[in-house]
């Protein structure tokens, strides 16, 4: 084994290190895969925090509420693709405040539809 390795090293000074790096990278991604699987198998880690980049309808999709619920909560006209930051900017507000308004609307809707 050691002899073979030395032989390979003597003849393939470039390919052998490349192989070692590729192997290490493969191991790295494999370990990371396991880490992801463990992390995301916890349902608490799965909810998406409402962020500025999210279109309001996407928030509705992500939190499993009808889009009108959130549109009404922020009195938006239907059909527009507006993000949470767009709304915050337009109202001289900030993302945190819009987020909490949306969270309230989501909580209310979920409470009303708890039986479904």
């Amino acid at each position: 084994m050691a002899k073979r390795l030395r032989h390979l090293w003597n003849r393939h000074r470039i390919i052998l290190p490349m192989f070692a790096v590729a192997l290490a990278l493969t191991a790295f991604f494999a370990v990371r895969m396991v880490f992801f699987a463990v992390h995301w198998s916890d349902p608490g880690n799965r909810d998406l925090t409402i962020e500025g980049w999210m279109p309001v309808r996407y928030v509705a999709r992500s939190w499993h509420v009808p889009p009108e619920v959130l549109g009404d909560a922020l009195s938006l006209s239907p059909g527009d693709r507006v993000t949470v930051s767009d709304i915050a900017d337009a109202r001289n507000s900030d993302v945190a405040r819009i987020r909490s308004e949306l969270m309230v609307a989501i909580a209310v809707w979920r409470a009303e539809h708890a039986d479904d």
């Binding site: 895969m33 500025g52 999709r61 499993h64």
Partner: protein, 194 residues
């Protein structure tokens, strides 16, 4: 980073999807997979239109591929002519020509989606080594169709958590690419172990 990309898709829609997939096929390091995931997710939420997202992603990708191919074909011609002057190099070129004839289609197809990080480098190589334009396009289009379908489809199906999906997909792509390179280099070394 993912937030920024998702935000760009949210505010600019399909123009960003077309631009990013185009650039990614020219080896510009832009996260085309994130863009397509976001596109699929925003179709699901009703913010974008499905066929437009698919056409933009596919169109950007095949345009980028073809440009890379033409670049290799025309830019590579003088280089190839010079290499051919040496007999030994000409032999190597002829052998790689044989490899292209035998494996080129499969390589182009697979480097569109399964090992997509290698795609941008295969394009000019295919052009320079004289792979037929029609053959390149046929396998390329087929591969890009798979690529777009997978990413836009996953974004659509798992729309409620594309952040998670983007991390997972990025890692999986890294795993498959590093794994394929490991296997190829390993086979090469194994055959020369004696």
């Amino acid at each position: 980073m993912t937030d920024l990309i998702f935000g760009l898709v949210a505010s600019h829609g399909i123009a960003i999807i077309l631009g990013i997939t185009f650039l990614s096929c020219l080896a510009v390091p832009v996260p085309s997979s994130f863009v397509m995931l976001a596109g699929g997710a925003f179709v699901s939420s009703g913010d974008l239109t499905g066929w437009q997202v698919v056409v933009a992603a596919f169109g950007g990708a095949v345009l980028g591929d073809q440009l890379g191919y033409e670049f290799g074909r025309f830019g590579g011609a003088p280089l190839m002519a010079r290499l051919r002057r040496s007999k030994r190099r000409a032999q190597v070129l002829n052998r790689s020509r044989g490899l292209i004839d035998r494996w080129g289609g499969r390589a182009v197809f697979l480097t569109r989606w399964a090992i997509s990080p290698l795609g941008p480098y295969v394009n000019p190589l295919a052009g320079a080594l004289g792979m037929g334009r029609l053959r390149f396009a046929a396998f390329g289009w087929a591969g890009e169709a798979v690529w777009v379908t997978i990413y836009v489809g996953l974004g659509y199906l798992f729309a409620s958590n594309i952040v998670w999906l983007a991390e997972l997909a990025g890692n999986l792509m890294g795993l498959v690419t590093a794994g394929s390179i490991t296997v190829l280099l390993g086979l090469f070394l194994w055959r020369r172990r004696a």
